[in-house]
């Protein structure tokens, strides 16, 4: 269906259902319960981030996952996309369609330049070149390019901006043809509360499209060529294939994905700054990809979702929350436990992230998806007393 195998179609279907129902699924606890306040994630601002970073990492995965070329400067494309979108808001109107289109185009052009140069080297040299380009972009955005980027203040839309195409009475915030991004409906269901927002659904739609496209790319001859490049460039050459254009296309496509993500970030909140391009932001993209599972289809969505969720949850936890959670324990023990947990939550979220990252790279190089598959294989073997054929299949099939 849709040019997909049954299995891929099912995967797509799962993603579609999960994203569309996210406002419900991610709010499993009553809104005013303490669990709800700590663990509910079904509010628009956070769900938008799930979707947007999902798109970003899906694109990154087309480059790193398929070809093995580790770009350490991918946030540059995200940043460029955001700048392009905000400029469209300033010049044309708050309609997000031209903004997003331009984001993708500009990021694509930008990645042609950076890709063409960086891809002349491989391995760690490629990583350093991309890192150098991204840092350069970051530094320039702060200094010389201030007329374009508004420097440290960040680029935003002012009432004095021309907005040549703005229609009479159009919303003074991002919208699609008059439908404001921020418009939402809230449904109450006893103590539960679910918010459905236009902005989130736009991001969700884009995520689904991006995901569908990535399945098609993975299964295409182009995707196969990219995996072959990762596997053995020498053989590629002696088979009569020119790896350069394949690599460049992979780079451009993943740059355009990042541009789309950047455009959407701006569409949700029409301002942007250079810090979006800083190299730790690029590092975060890598972390998400690795955590989910590099080279797998669903990995990027899982990885970005888990990181953004944990970031949100863990960084919200403070000592009060902890005292609430461990109330039942004797005071002495309670205090000890809280002392132990304290450095890892709230402000210490980054520490948890770093540890999580190390644990994954050390013990689970295939990321959560592969970990899940291994667990699944373990259980099915136990329960079904798997035949040799099953085990072979598990060994032969690369992670999906």
């Amino acid at each position: 269906m849709l040019g997909l195998t049954q299995k891929d179609f099912l995967l797509l279907l799962v993603v579609v259902v999960l994203t569309l129902l996210a406002p419900i699924i991610l709010n499993p606890f009553p809104v005013n319960s303490s669990l709800g306040q700590s663990f509910n994630a079904g509010y628009p601002a956070l769900m938008q981030r799930f979707a947007i970073f999902g798109i970003l990492v899906i694109g990154f995965n087309i480059l790193f996952g398929l070809t093995g070329y580790l770009s350490f400067g991918h946030a540059a494309f995200l940043g460029v996309g955001s700048y392009a979108a905000v400029w469209m808001f300033k010049l044309l109107s708050f309609n997000i369609i031209p903004a997003i289109v331009l984001s993708v185009i500009v990021a694509g052009l930008f990645s042609i330049v950076i890709g063409y140069v960086s891809l002349r080297r491989s391995g760690i040299y490629f990583s350093i070149l991309t890192l150098a380009f991204a840092q350069m972009s970051y530094a320039l955005a702060y200094s010389v390019l201030t007329p374009l980027t508004n420097g440290e203040t960040g680029l935003q839309v002012y009432p004095s901006d021309p907005q040549y195409l703005a229609a009479e009475g159009a919303p003074s915030a991002p919208h699609v043809f008059g439908l404001p991004m921020a418009e939402s409906t809230t449904v109450y269901f006893g103590d539960w509360q679910f918010t459905f927002e236009i902005g989130y659904y736009l991001c969700a739609l884009m995520l689904i499209l991006a995901f569908y496209l990535s399945i098609r790319i993975f299964r295409s001859p182009f995707g196969m060529m990219l995996r072959a490049i990762k596997s053995n460039q020498t053989r590629m050459n002696y088979t009569g294939l020119n790896t350069k254009p394949y690599m460049l296309w992979a780079f451009i496509i993943s740059g355009m994905y990042a541009g789309l993500a950047g455009g959407l970030l701006a569409a949700m909140d029409p301002l942007t700054g250079a810090e979006r391009m800083y190299w730790t932001a690029s590092g975060e993209i890598v972390v998400m990809a690795i955590l989910g599972g590099v080279g797998t289809l669903i990995g990027p969505v899982v990885g970005s979702g888990v990181i953004k969720y944990l970031e949100n949850i863990v960084s919200k936890i403070n000592d009060n929350v902890l005292h609430g959670a461990f109330n039942a324990l004797p005071d002495g023990l309670e205090n000890v436990i809280i002392k132990i947990i304290h450095p890892f939550v709230g402000e210490g979220w980054q520490l948890t992230l770093g540890l999580l990252f190390m644990v994954v790279v050390i013990f689970l190089p295939g990321g959560l998806v592969q970990g899940g598959q291994r667990l699944g294989a373990l259980f099915s073997r136990r329960s079904r007393n798997a035949t040799a054929a099953d085990r072979d299949a598990a060994r032969q099939k690369p992670a999906e």
């Binding site: 040299y125 402000e347 770093g354």
Partner: protein, 343 residues
Amino acid sequence: MDAIILQILNGLDKGSAYALIALGLTLIFGTLGVVNFAHGALFMIGAFCAVTMQRLLTLSHTVIDPSQTDFLGNPLQTKVPYLASVFGTEGAQALITWSVPLSIILVIPVMLFVGWAMERGLIKHFYKRPHADQILVTFGLAIVLQEIIRAIYGANPIQSPAPPMFSGSIDIGEYLGFQANAIVYPIWRLVYFAFSAVIIAAVFAFLQFTTFGMVVRAGMADRETVGMLGIDIDKRFTLMFGLAAAVAGLAGAMYAPIVSPNYHMGMDFLVLSFVVVVVGGMGSLPGAVFAGFLLGILQGFASMNEVKAVLPGIDQIVIYLVAIIILLTRPRGLMGRAGVMED
């Protein structure tokens, strides 16, 4: 002319730091074949050793002086450093102002230990893994280390002044026969430069003139052959890691008066040091040192107003620009061997 000399001097202290970090990175890469993204964190830990030294020296106990009262009429409580009981009040004060240089005695054992623990506990398991995995796991470690430091010392930079003798500036211009105040330069930066020169010389002498160093150099050139000679190269390489960590730590500790230690200084220096390594040539020790100073000085020049007037923003990007040009025209860097780590 005086402006040029000033810019060269301005490049020296940054260049010294780049050179020391890049030297350690290269030692680790050359001996162990590992790309260590946590090396900047080692530099940062060194800087915090200086902070710790200061805190250790100022550890105090409270003395109650019944003969005096504070403004509330209670007996006066004063904090007296433990040191004072050994060195007297004045002696203790003098020692405390010297806490940055004194921290060297703390840095060396701490960093040797940290390096050893890192290598045995983590890096060892990554020798056979792809370079991308090494980058990733050390990147994760760098985040962890920097967050631990932040949890302990907080997010704000901590001032760590140089000893009074070396704080302040001197007018070098006058010595060289220029006008007064043409070249005014902070003394501590000169000290830092001299210090790094000594460290660099020591590392090279160590590699050049000791049997240990000879084996390590041979191992860098051709690990397998040395291994076949029955020399336990691994143990020495572990020690090399400790040594590289100590060099980074020393660089960081002495840098504390120049940039107040903060938890993200390691990451800031890491990226640039990597660029330095690549420009110098992956695996080349002289290349690392040379490129460190070169890029530091280039950055100094690019910060001159005359240069910025012609090429606005050049000071921000000159290092990256040089790196890109070098990587494209001379992939093995200024002094590197061909084919190192091409994939």
